[in-house]
């Protein structure tokens, strides 16, 4: 059980984000929920690539006595996480721009209110 705790943390973060994205009515809170889901996915990728007692895969002044490749964490999930973080920033900026535009048009952030105003 103890070795599954990081995965449980990942699942809890995805739950919190999913709850906020599904059951909240404020648009800003929905955006925050989507960002929390994305953090959970990043944590999941990092967790998959960890090796017991590993150091970062960087050779500049490596700690003495390190056996490679057995004591280095996997580099490919870290690179994919790096890509994912920048994509997350771009998508967050786009979502917040749309929310600003929606607020200017309807003068509310409640999705139910917005649906009533549209009809």
């Amino acid at each position: 059980m103890i070795q599954y705790i990081p995965f449980i943390a990942v699942v809890c973060m995805i739950f919190i984000g999913l709850y906020a994205a599904m059951f909240r009515r404020n648009l800003i809170k929905i955006v925050i929920g989507i960002t929390i889901i994305e953090s959970g996915v990043n944590l999941f990728l990092i967790t998959l690539g960890y090796r017991e007692g590993g150091v970062a895969p960087i050779y500049t002044s490596l700690p003495s006595g390190t056996v490679y490749p057995e004591q280095m964490v996997l580099p490919v999930p870290q690179a994919l996480t790096l890509t994912s973080i920048v994509i997350g920033v771009a998508v967050l900026a786009l979502m917040l721009s749309l929310v600003m535009h929606i607020y200017k048009k309807y003068e509310t952030l409640d999705v139910q209110e917005m649906r009533r105003l549209k009809e």
């Binding site: 699942v11 739950f15 580099p75 994509i87 900026a93 786009l94």
Partner: protein, 90 residues
């Protein structure tokens, strides 16, 4: 509680139970399963891409196409933000 709310709660519960039971099928924390590709990259990053940093050599050399797509996404996000606010200019 209307019909949409019931459907939402049901979907949320199903996803929750599925995720919670599927984490026990993954390998334990700290012991990755398939490591042949990563071991090859770690061993050859100093010879092939002449770089001390394994992550940077993966990002720009071994998996350059991912970075190309990511740069495209950043570019289109900037273009989208400029397009959304183009009428704001006075």
């Amino acid at each position: 509680m209307d019909k949409r709310m019931v459907a939402a709660v049901l979907a949320f519960t199903i996803v929750t139970v599925f995720f919670f039971f599927s984490i026990f099928l993954i390998h334990p924390f700290g012991e990755p399963g398939q490591v042949r590709m990563d071991d090859r990259i770690i061993e050859n990053t100093q010879n092939e891409s002449a770089s001390n940093n394994g992550v940077t050599s993966v990002v720009f050399d071994y998996r350059g196409f991912d970075t190309l797509g990511e740069a495209t996404i950043l570019f289109s996000a900037v273009a989208g933000v400029i397009m959304i606010f183009r009428r704001v200019k006075e």
